[in-house]
């Protein structure tokens, strides 16, 4: 058992993380019954043990603070982020999450659709009153320009094809 207050604090923190992990594990196990339950402890363990070792070294051996400590802290954070990333990736890969996200999006569309339409109608009416072309009219004009450009390109393609055929050996000459 830890023999100084600092280590006791760390041990307590470690226990709390493990208990939290167990709770998380139970929650995920219930949420996705068909797939095997995850073991987030496997993610926590490497970086937590490493962090513990580094802190113990500093606290118990009285090592002077050094740049190594910074590097270890950075490594600790990297592993912590990587662990979270893996946990989140697994959680987001569940059918439950996909369904939840789909419902959220649908809810958003149900609200934003009518709001967008009403706002567009109001803006169009205001612009029409001022004699200014609406966004829809400008967009339609731009679409027409793009279509004209597309037709010119298509004509150019055809002319190119005809010219290529005429330049082929054995092609009829005028």
């Amino acid at each position: 058992m830890a023999d100084n207050p600092s280590q006791q604090l760390l041990e307590m923190w470690k226990r709390q993380v493990e208990e939290g992990t167990q709770a998380w594990l139970r929650l995920m196990g219930q949420a996705q019954a068909p797939t095997p339950a995850m073991d987030p402890q496997a993610f926590w363990r490497p970086f937590m043990d490493q962090g513990m070792a580094a802190w113990s070294k500093v606290m118990t051996q009285g090592a002077a603070p050094s740049p190594d400590l910074m590097a270890q802290w950075k490594q600790f954070l990297d592993q912590w982020i990587a662990a979270w990333s893996r946990v989140l990736e697994q959680a987001m890969g569940t059918d439950n999450f996909a369904q939840l996200m789909g419902k959220q999006l649908e809810g958003f569309l149900n609200v934003s659709g009518p709001v967008k339409k009403a706002a567009e109608q109001q803006i169009d009416a205001s612009l029409a009153g001022l004699g200014i072309p609406s966004r829809g009219q400008v967009t339609a004009l731009a679409r027409h320009v793009a279509q004209v450009e597309e037709k010119i390109d298509a004509l150019e393609d055809k002319v190119d094809r005809v010219l290529r055929r005429l330049n082929e050996p054995g092609a009829p000459r005028a």
């Binding site: 050094s66 740049p67 990333s85 990736e89 059918d95 996909a98 569309l109 679409r143 793009a146």
Partner: protein
């Protein structure tokens, strides 16, 4: 308590010269971190991107074809087809010594880049089929004409791979010399989280497009950020750690600029992209029809290289590799390289692993 803490720390050991030097180095780095942080906040500089000289060869609507300056010692030119929408293509020519384009041109490739452009509301009618059967053939032919070559290699990256594969498999008159799929999904049954989130049971693409018209850049950004929620955290942590290094900071600025410039999708393009590729997986099944022609990947008969990235969560290796199984050629190779979807082609790792591999594979066949 205070005394107890001091006792706990024990006696401070004598410092070795080595440790002292390292502490001094760390202190200097901390000063540089503060200096660079101050510069980034108080006087942010717009990073210069796209350093390789280039010339616009052709332009149609929003799309452009670029030709990059090169010694052109390799006979067969290369057409690079990136994704449409999502992000800007300058990631492939991000900065000096950090550019795929620069590497390839230095190797002597006559390099052409398809820049799909930024589509607006007026382009909402553009479909995947339009991109594959109208835009891409035109851009490819212009590249071929500009190069004066009789054959051309095509490299599709990310979404550019299924688009360009569909193009070369349906335009058999196009003189294709080599084909490369770089981190491009082909079998959408193994496409990872996006495949799950865009499944027809949970994602109503028709409602989405009918309501929004186009897919706004913010929505695209949200989708990609959600794919890796810890990305910003680790990016910022790495920035803090390397903030003392001016080279890292300038690279970060350029990459960060790119990483936050998302592009919208034309509505009909998104509808067909999600429905035909993600939801119905028509490409690998051979059920995709474009302009009345079935897209049959077995029609790809030239040498093929497929490159997957081990950590890719956008196009996992399992959805990239299947191209190799369906093409009709004996000269085919699949390689799986370290990195993620972006770091496969951009960054220090890419310059060590990916660029030399692609360049040497192509050069031997060009």
């Amino acid at each position: 308590m205070k005394d107890e803490l001091f006792t706990m720390m024990g006696e401070m050991p004598a410092m070795s010269p080595e440790l002292l030097a390292r502490m001094r180095q760390e202190a200097e780095r901390n000063l540089l971190r503060m200096k660079h942080f101050g510069e980034m906040v108080m006087n942010p500089k717009e990073p210069k991107v796209g350093p390789t000289p280039r010339q616009e060869i052709f332009r149609t609507n929003k799309s452009r074809l670029w030709r990059y300056e090169s010694r052109r010692t390799i006979r067969t030119p290369l057409l690079f087809v990136p994704n449409l929408g999502i992000s800007r293509p300058y990631i492939f020519d991000l900065m000096p010594k950090g550019s795929f384009v620069e590497h390839m041109t230095q190797q002597g490739f006559d390099f052409y880049l398809v820049d799909w452009g930024v589509f607006g509301e007026e382009d909402n009618g553009l479909t995947v089929e339009d991109a594959v059967t109208k835009l891409l053939p035109r851009l490819a032919r212009k590249a071929l004409e500009s190069s004066g070559a009789s054959e051309m290699s095509v490299l599709g990256y990310c979404m550019g791979a299924p688009l360009s594969a569909s193009f070369v498999a349906t335009h058999l008159d196009f003189p294709l010399k080599n084909y490369i799929n770089m981190a491009g999904p082909i079998d959408f049954a193994h496409v990872g989280l996006f495949g799950k989130w865009l499944a027809p049971s949970v994602f109503d693409v028709d409602k989405y497009v009918d309501t929004l018209g186009s897919i706004p850049a913010e929505m695209v950004k949200m989708g990609f950020k959600l794919l890796k929620p810890t990305m910003d955290l680790s990016t910022n942590l790495n920035l803090w750690w390397n903030l003392w290094n001016p080279e890292y900071v300038s690279g970060f600025n350029a990459l960060n600029k790119w990483a936050n410039e998302y592009l919208p999708f034309p509505g009909e393009f998104f509808r067909q992209w999600v429905r035909d590729f993600y939801q119905q997986n028509k490409l690998i099944k051979g059920e995709l029809v474009m302009a009345g022609r079935r897209v049959d990947l077995r029609e790809i008969r030239c040498p093929v290289l497929a490159v997957g990235a081990k950590e890719d969560n956008i196009a996992p290796p399992a959805c990239v590799k299947p191209l190799i199984d369906v093409v009709s050629t004996r000269d085919k190779e699949y390689v799986e390289l370290p990195g993620g979807h972006i770091s496969l082609i951009a960054g220090r790792g890419a310059s060590v692993h990916c660029w030399p591999k692609v360049a040497s594979w192509l050069a031997a066949r060009s």
